[in-house]
Assembly symmetry: C2
Homo-oligomer: 422 residues x 2
């Protein structure tokens, strides 16, 4: 490398900082609006529980919104991953408002879904729009789209480093390439700052101080070997939960498609199943996002961090609710339900394994997500950004073990396999 090449790197970095700036600001602002609306919708439903009965009708509305205005944006996250790999039909501008609107509808009427799909699609479609305006070539457009994913993901969860790594890691299974890292990092930082500047706050999770246990040679050894073994056992369960989740979304979609020939009736059926499940359960804990409690004592993600904060089978209920909701055409994404499934499963396993409950809830939170999206590195960073660096080693062990046990499919069918898992 010649000396003056350093100037060209600086030029590149400045160029990308300028290019991603408007995308990150706009994505961050859209995410702030989305998070605010989402919060309004969720709390409105808490006060008006009958809204759940309109879920089947809401499903029809979402179906026809996509049918009439959607073009190819129904493909969602997979479309963005596809476009980064190989330029195809392009990402339409309408993707952003459509996914925002339909996600709010899903949550207002009690569908069990997430918000990362919405965030990624808002970021991706804004990035695609600016890419066309800036007349970028194909390779620069890919970097731009990656930055859009990073901005959306980093902003929606308040985790900029995770957003950037997720955007690079989600594109393929088994490897990560560094080419778009600087633009992605810039975009997610700026988008995260934008959300905060709008006054929107993220949920704070805490791992309680874990009681110091006396174990074999504990004065000498830096880690608790028994704890590591427990983490690996739990992580195998987390990986299997991801595997079940991904498989069920796929299977339920196939079955509904076969049983119900009229397409707009599929979300009606999905909505009715959710209503039926809620009657069986007797409570609305597994509806919607699962972050804020509907009533004191409800099972939520934060409650799962404490002993008694989840039922033994909460993770399975949430799996059934969410896979039914998403497979029948409702919108929002999978990640927050995966957090819920992981945290509640971690809660259950901590009792079986006699392990610290908040630590295992945190491990489940990140590991089920790592398995289902095939992004173990991003999830390790998410653990560090959300819960602190003290348990970084355990986060990595849990995420990579769950990743190995989640199978090759995952929730994003557009991912290509670069390095097989086994």
């Amino acid at each position: 490398m010649k000396k003056f090449e350093h100037y060209s790197i600086i030029k590149q970095l400045l160029r990308w900082t300028i290019l991603v700036f408007p995308i990150a600001i706009l994505t961050g602002s859209a995410i702030a609006l989305f998070l605010w609306l989402l919060n309004q919708a969720i709390h409105y439903r808490f006060g008006h529980q009958w809204l759940l009965f309109l879920l089947p009708a809401a499903g029809i509305v979402i179906y026809f919104l996509y049918r009439l205005f959607g073009k190819n944006s129904e493909k969602g996250n997979n479309l963005i991953i596809d476009e980064i790999r190989e330029h195809g039909e392009g990402i339409p501008k309408r993707m952003a408002p459509l996914i925002l609107l339909t996600t709010i509808i899903t949550h207002l009427f009690g569908g069990s879904a997430g918000r990362e799909g919405t965030a990624v699609q808002i970021g991706g479609s804004i990035a695609a729009m600016f890419g066309r305006w800036f007349r970028l070539n194909e390779s620069d457009t890919r970097v731009m789209l990656t930055a859009g994913i990073a901005a959306g993901f980093g902003a929606v969860f308040g985790t900029p480093l995770t957003g950037a790594i997720f955007a690079l890691e989600v594109l393929a299974i088994g490897s990560i390439r560094y080419n778009a890292l600087f633009p992605a990092l810039m975009a997610s930082i700026i988008a995260d700052i934008t959300v905060a500047a709008w006054g929107i706050h993220h949920t704070a999770y805490h791992i309680d101080i874990i009681p110091h246990q006396i174990y074999f040679m504990s004065d000498l050894l830096p880690v608790d070997l028994l704890l590591i073994i427990k983490v690996i056992v739990a992580a195998i369960a987390f990986g299997l939960a991801s595997f079940i989740f991904s498989g069920m979304v796929h299977e339920i979609k196939v079955i509904l498609g076969k049983v119900i020939p009229i397409k707009w009736l599929i979300p009606v059926a999905g909505g009715m199943i959710i209503i039926g499940l809620t009657y069986i359960n007797g409570n609305q804990d597994y509806l919607s996002l699962g972050v804020d409690p509907q009533y004191p004592g409800a099972i939520t993600i934060p409650s799962a961090f404490h002993a008694g904060g989840a039922d033994t089978w909460s993770w399975l209920w949430k799996t059934i609710y969410t896979t039914t909701t998403l497979a029948s055409g409702f919108k929002g994404g999978e990640v927050t339900p995966l957090f819920y499934i992981g945290a509640t499963l971690g809660n259950t396993l901590s009792q079986l394994l006699n392990a610290p409950v908040s630590l295992f809830a945190a491990l489940g939170f990140i590991a089920v997500f790592a398995g289902a999206t095939n992004t173990p590195l991003a999830c390790t960073f998410m653990g560090i950004e959300l819960f602190g660096g003290e348990y970084a080693l355990l986060f990595a062990i849990a995420c990579f073990t769950a990743y190995l046990f989640s199978g090759h499919s995952g929730i994003y069918s557009a991912q290509t396999i670069i390095v097989p898992k086994f």
Copy 2:
């Protein structure tokens, strides 16, 4: 994926845990011995400063040790990287004892070098030995060697997660593949535990609590934008320091080879330059490892974390000392000197940029190393493992920026470029 395939993954994981177990235990024990001997050698030299005058003679001994017994092990870390990429002439067993002995000699007589080269070569050569005993096929041998690197690196610095990521990331520039991750993680954890079980402790570094600064919208924004800009500016300097370091090792080697036709005289010349530099300096601060202080007030890595703990040009002095030491044939590796260069440069830059000194020393510590070895992800984790997760985002920004500015060569010439930096 069929259901029963999960059993085969468990089988694979158990198989690898068993395979890496003896390697990790043996590597960890060898590293414990090495760290103990190194500490003895360094403190013996502190009490016997005249040993420095024997550095040229020590260089001759090292030269002939490799000439007579070395076979191809002189190639060091590059040989291991080469063998993982493509099976060649093989890694000889003698590599481990030779590098251990010659590193101790280098430090006993005041050569400015590190210890990660030694650790990686001990791990790699032990892994190669067991690979032959177990009659592993080529692809399994590669995984085994990667686990050997992880064990050595994780054990010598007490950072198991970093060790595993480093072993995967160091193999190529611009990408990381996940295939050997589980064995590497197991190996580095077990090796780290082994070192601790032998009663060997690692240096603890601390980032002081950083005074809360009032900045633009500081109540609302999650990060300090001005601080991020300062980090990027500093990281460009860290990257350039890596670039200068890698270039100088190469150039000095070429020049010495041209000027001095008799090969065994090259380390003599190198040793005499180090003696001359020490006279010019008037102190022995830049000799050897630079971790423990030779006298109260000496400039060391820990001292660089405090205001006044490094001179303005300490980083340049250490660069000259270390590149001369290594280019003339002494042994030990580059990483601890790179920590030293980074921490002292961070100390200097913190004054120029009016930034927190301990934070910028920590950033330099990891970022100069990230640039010189092209392992930004491993170095981000190293920052988290050594200094805590609170500044994970800044660690990542610093490591990836330095990585972009360090050029394509780095200190390991065997690295192949998968994704160019610009």
